[in-house]
Symmetry: C3
Subunit: 274 residues, 3 copies
Amino acid sequence: MEEELITKVMHEVMKRVGNGNGATAVAQVEEVKTASPLSNIPAELVQLTEFVGAGMGDTQGIVIANLDPMIHKLIGFDPKFRSIGVIGGRTGAGPHLMAADEAIKATNTEIIMVEMPRDTKGGAGHGNLIVFGAEDVSDARRAVEVTLETLPKYFGDLYANYQDYTENQYTARASKVLKYALGAPEGRAFGLILGAPAVIGMLMIDTAVKAADVEVLGFASPKKGTSLTNEVFIWVTGDSGAVRQAVIAGREVGNKLLGAWGQVPKSATGNPYI
Amino acid sequence: MEEELITKVMHEVMKRVGNGNGATAVAQVEEVKTASPLSNIPAELVQLTEFVGAGMGDTQGIVIANLDPMIHKLIGFDPKFRSIGVIGGRTGAGPHLMAADEAIKATNTEIIMVEMPRDTKGGAGHGNLIVFGAEDVSDARRAVEVTLETLPKYFGDLYANYQDYTENQYTARASKVLKYALGAPEGRAFGLILGAPAVIGMLMIDTAVKAADVEVLGFASPKKGTSLTNEVFIWVTGDSGAVRQAVIAGREVGNKLLGAWGQVPKSATGNPYI
Amino acid sequence: MEEELITKVMHEVMKRVGNGNGATAVAQVEEVKTASPLSNIPAELVQLTEFVGAGMGDTQGIVIANLDPMIHKLIGFDPKFRSIGVIGGRTGAGPHLMAADEAIKATNTEIIMVEMPRDTKGGAGHGNLIVFGAEDVSDARRAVEVTLETLPKYFGDLYANYQDYTENQYTARASKVLKYALGAPEGRAFGLILGAPAVIGMLMIDTAVKAADVEVLGFASPKKGTSLTNEVFIWVTGDSGAVRQAVIAGREVGNKLLGAWGQVPKSATGNPYI
């Protein structure tokens, strides 16, 4: 009974305190299973018209119908984007990019800002801030909604244990967000192979390029291309089958290294999509 | 009774482990109410003459009477500042700047170093390191004391829940610290409107500039003007009433967004000053 | 009995959640005492030939026998290093540098990459990624093994409490890793004097240079020479007795300031070596 109590407290603690992508993501598994990303909104918030919803990754989505021209100027946004949709979370930069990429396909918006803070709540990686520009507020709102709805899919291939994570992403057709943020060619396959801490990423990227004939678009490490995160990753393009194969090969060795800390890493949602 | 036990353990855990400005600040509320920032010093420490005191924000203040000339040269301090006072904490960069600004008004010191690490103990923001230069050690000591004593006031408008925070600062007359660190015009009103994660800051700054006729002095985001924090903020000047109004308007929407995570954000001290 | 239960849960929580170098290091004390750094490997991992072992500092060591030429090109490694050994952890950058420096003395390898992310699991400092290049895989593996075996020694002079840490390192003869990463002169004495948060480092470095006639090789602070960590440190050379004396003097005042938070800081292993 004492054991049971300890387990109960531990669960509650890990949920609240988090420990980077890992613990947070794992804690969110249950929430995702029992609640849509748009639920859980206190009644008083209904009166804040800018609030669209909360989502996985300690994320909120908002919309601003008529952005003040002073803010346009301050950040350098094109004045034609009267409305903006904003997504921002503390964890899960990769899933956010992927979900926003889906949203841009599905809506009449443009991507006008992508910034990745060093965050993940004490974890090894990035938080995120993504802004869609639109001429019409309903378009901006729709982009935010699609992103929030799509986030759980892309958290599916984030594997974590209490210590660290591997992040694996794949799409057959990259769109404007992946082009804007990572220089991915539009309409072609895209894959992300990422491990944290960085040592895990080193084996993942080597394994990935050996596994399939892919073209490496970029490389990032703690001092190069990241916000000083403890990650190593590459992103690749090429034949869609090859890209998928490279991602899967990287994921496999990465998760084995993660497991060396004595806990089998789990998909953040229980539903990997790759 | 089991529930009670869990609550007790949770409280202890959150206090010790912290989770960014939020949990830490909330945990500190009680301490501030029951103890002055200068108490809690173990007896053995009385013998370390450099130690001045501990304060809110996981902060210590020290004084060095005769700084070694090698250190002056290494950091680039003017040799005329024989003594230095140093304040440094892991959380609450804004309150520290504001409190140091009060200290510089009240003492015969100059501000010679302000650096903001990426910290907050796993939270979304900055820690801090602030150095006062003085020709006389008693002046340096006094600056540190005033800063420590004044800190709780400026934590009063830091609102946090387990997830994130808004930080709101206001003074009718900025002094040399705010000028040094943020380019604020001396003697004029100053306001800071800040939200974390960055998405919350986006709505706060737009709301603030719409609410009152203020002049924006600067803008910061994860990749611009911060140490890669998950924050968006502006700092403003103008008519003191307008500045105050802008800060209050930003605070209001920011705290509503914070509340969307299901927990009403609280002032870190229970005594907001704006 | 309730007290006992709380203590038990707290211990478990601190171990899992960590709180930067501090809590993590303290939690590891017991592990180090009861298990070699190479134990604790789940059976399934035996099949991953690249895995060498896990070590203090949330660290893993791996070896890649035939690094893909595409990766050589991507990172800029000399193609003659067919094999690489990689060490990477989330905490304890200093101990890793020191242990890798021992490994380079003992093996036929070269140091080809040292990167320090902003990490320590919510703590104030750096994680690490260190790569050895070798023409023969057995040399690369040996370098990783020596690093892992040597790590606990250098964690011995990392003192931490729940809040922060001081890090003190000393060697009579620096080798190629310290030269590569910090410009230390090979074959001469080397000392590191470091405190976190930065305010503690300020007193440590002043005390250290006053205590002995040493030559300061470098200075680092949140905005200069660190990855935005909340640390201040110097590294020094000179007569080996003087270097040791400077490190010890810095350590002494640093640990007194740490203790001002009401908890005596402890060596991460219980076995300081300086």
